[in-house]
């Protein structure tokens, strides 16, 4: 059941049809119309948030934004499978995961506006803040899982990373440690086919999911644009981890429909035909089709969903623009948890330096 399969497991076809998938099916039996609609609502909202953030960047309100366009189902489906006491160790792109975990919208963009290096307190939502060093967070997740194991609780760590990240030593070492200690951790790889300008074929000539079994970690290869498959796979993996079965690796095969970040120009390296092809596999489209078939989509539902998304966009924009700039001297805050004389002296000197401008009324940093 949980061996790597050549083609990604699908429970919902691009045409919106429910497909039987053997061992996966029992894990999504609870997904009735209203449940699916709730998930669909998430998809619409996170896509709207993503679009709005991209717009904010274009308008100079954010320094950078890494769009998740195309990866909504992979992120929402996995995030919605988690328990609140599970802990998420994301990369920089899992803003839909952050949303599902309850991170408030302004906090999602604080980092990208350049106000802080982390928008929220990880412990309030059990989501670590964005990790930019590729793959580093997979070790943190494994370590956290070792802690949970030692605490004799059944909480699980889940870590997100990309296809490119699988080449980094850290990700492989994380698998070694997770396997060695049978740590309750889920490796969730979004294979979005690109690492900036490099197609996944540069990283691996085999399916990404094939890597894990050799480390002693069972893996699942699923259609990452299929909300139902993602939810099922993540539930399977979480359950294994919770019940002492150790780590699981999930490859969610998806596609980065936008640029790597707003600073990127994919026309330099990507064939437009590839993007066009993937548009037909849009994760929102297919869930919408299923819901339509199920009779869950009515004009009222459409309008309400749209209103929800628009409200999120408005809230995000207002929160972003209204964010106060950090205080100058906060540059010295929190380097250490305990006092540090050398740093305190630098702070005092700089405070004095700033004050000297105040008195001469020509503060250059004002």
């Amino acid at each position: 059941m949980i061996d790597s399969s050549p083609r990604p497991v699908q429970l919902l076809s691009p045409d919106g049809e429910r497909m039987p998938a053997g061992d996966f099916d029992p894990w999504v039996e609870d997904l009735d119309g209203p449940a699916l609609l709730a998930l669909y609502r998430d998809l619409v909202v996170v896509r709207r948030i993503d679009t709005e953030a991209t717009a904010l960047q274009r308008q100079g309100e954010l320094g950078l934004w890494p769009p998740l366009l195309g990866q909504e189902a992979a992120q929402v489906g996995s995030a919605r499978a988690l328990r609140s006491d599970d802990f998420v160790f994301p990369s920089y792109r899992e803003n839909a995961v952050a949303y599902c975990r309850g991170v408030n919208l302004t906090d999602i963009v604080t980092v990208w506006r350049g106000n802080t290096q982390s928008g929220w307190d990880p412990y309030t939502v059990n989501v670590a803040t964005p990790a930019i060093i590729i793959g580093a967070q997979t070790l943190h997740a494994t370590g956290w899982a070792l802690g949970a194991q030692r605490d004799d609780v059944d909480s699980v760590a889940i870590t997100y990373f990309g296809d490119g990240a699988t080449s980094e030593g850290d990700v492989n070492e994380a698998m070694v440690f997770a396997a060695s200690f049978q740590a309750p951790v889920v490796f969730f790889c979004q294979n979005n086919h690109w690492a900036i300008s490099e197609p996944v074929g540069v990283q691996a000539h085999r399916n990404i999911a094939d890597r894990a079994p050799g480390f002693g970690i069972p893996s699942l290869r699923i259609d990452g644009n299929d909300m139902i498959a993602v939810l099922a796979a993540t539930r399977i993996a979480l359950d294994r981890a919770r019940t002492g079965g150790g780590p699981t690796f999930i490859e969610a095969v998806t596609y980065r429909m936008g640029p790597h970040t707003t600073a990127d120009d994919p026309t330099r390296y990507r064939d437009p035909a590839e993007l066009a092809e993937w548009k037909t596999r849009d994760p929102l489209l297919r869930l919408h089709r299923l819901l339509t078939a199920l009779g869950e989509i009515t004009p009222e539902v459409e309008a309400a969903t749209q209103a929800l998304a628009d409200a999120a966009a408005v809230e995000l924009r207002a929160g972003c623009i209204g964010m106060p700039d950090p205080e100058p001297l906060s540059v010295f805050d929190h380097v250490y948890a305990t006092p540090n004389a050398t740093l305190e002296r630098q702070r005092t000197d700089y405070a004095g330096y700033l004050t000297s401008f105040d008195s001469s009324e020509q503060n250059p940093k004002a």
Binding site: V111, T116, S167, D170, I196, P199, A204, R268, L343, Q346
Partner: protein, 350 residues
């Protein structure tokens, strides 16, 4: 085997088969980034053993476009888009050097050099010594460095002091288009490994470039002569230091600005001559103060020029904090005013 795109397939994309640009033959105005690009091109034309390795350096031309068009001109055997793993980029470069190649590695941003630290410090730096000269490591490691571009975490760092403390490495930082062109060629031609730091916030600044290799890279350059204070720096801050010299001149202080260019070894002949003349030294860099290059230079100058010093040398540096978020970086980075404040201090005016 996969049906996915392979690196070879990428190079058949339209736009990548454009005719090869001709190398620089006369004085031309170029951005700093383009000057490196031209230097790389010339080095690759001069020596077939020069190969480039890095993430996104092929079709994309690097995130800063420094390797633009080189894939099209030299092909995927010499311009190698690697998997995403910095230790492997440097480690395979070691193997290529072993076989007589001159690899030029691009580390995408300063903050991403640390996964490769072991290969740099324990292998690249030590091989020549270890093998008593039998195995050479003519590897160039290009690193865009420094802040001031409003970037996310790990994208604005100044890790040069880690490497100047590593015996066996040479360390270069360029400040202008001409040096960018000349010194990348020298770095690649060097039989020693060279860390080549590129001031990323100056990539787009233009300058005249003469297609010559110029003065040896280990020489520091007095970019602005002066009488009262020696102001030492490198990389992006050289232009700020020049502004400081202009501003101070108006207030009657004559500053001699030195662009170090080589951070290891430091050209103490030029530095000492200047300090002996001025009697006062200010060093400025973006890296944190504690353990930064400034302290090393001040200690050495104090050792060698003690009796010439009119006052204690002064440092104007980044603070001892992790690189702060973009909205705070203007407070962390030395700027014109902080440098002038440092000059005031060394002149005993504050």
């Amino acid at each position: 085997m996969t049906t996915l795109m392979t690196p070879a397939a990428v190079s058949t994309l339209p736009g990548l088969t454009a005719p090869a640009p001709t190398p620089l033959t006369q004085t031309t105005t170029l951005t700093l980034g383009k000057a490196i690009n031209e230097g790389l091109r010339q080095a690759m034309l001069d020596d077939p053993k020069v190969v480039l390795l890095g993430e996104d350096i092929g079709a994309l031309g690097g995130v800063f476009r420094v390797t633009s068009d080189l894939l099209a001109q030299f092909g995927a055997r010499r311009v190698i888009d690697t998997p995403l793993a910095e230790s492997a980029i440097i480690g395979t470069a070691v193997g290529l050097a072993y076989r007589g190649y001159r690899p030029v590695c691009e580390i995408q941003f300063d903050g991403f050099i640390f996964p490769a630290f072991d290969q740099i410090v324990s292998q690249v730096a030590k091989f020549h010594y270890r093998t008593q000269g039998a195995v050479r490591m003519p590897i160039t490691i290009r690193v865009p460095f420094g802040g001031g571009i409003g970037a996310a975490e790990h994208h604005s760092e100044s890790p040069e002091a880690y490497f100047t403390h590593t015996s066996g490495l040479r360390v270069i930082a360029v400040s202008n288009a001409q040096d960018a062109y000349s010194l990348i060629r020298q770095a690649i031609a060097s039989d020693d490994p060279v860390l080549y730091f590129e001031p990323k916030r100056r990539y787009h600044v233009k300058g005249e470039v003469v297609p010559e290799i110029g003065a040896p890279m280990e020489q520091a350059v007095v970019v602005c002569p002066g009488r009262d204070v020696t102001l030492l720096t490198y990389g992006a801050l050289v232009s700020t230091a020049r502004e400081a010299a202009l501003a101070a001149f108006d207030e009657g202080v004559s500053i001699e600005v030195i662009d170090l260019r080589s951070l290891s070894p430091v050209d103490y002949a030029v530095v000492e001559a200047s300090v002996r003349k001025t009697g006062r030294l200010v060093v400025t860099h973006e890296a944190a103060q504690s353990g930064g290059l400034g302290g090393e230079i001040i200690a050495t100058v104090t050792e060698r020029c003690f009796s010439y010093l009119e006052s204690a040398p002064v440092r104007v540096t980044g603070f001892d904090v992790p690189y702060p978020p973009a909205k705070l970086e203007s407070h962390h980075l030395p700027d014109l005013d902080r440098i002038l404040d440092g000059v005031d201090r060394v002149m005993g005016r504050r």
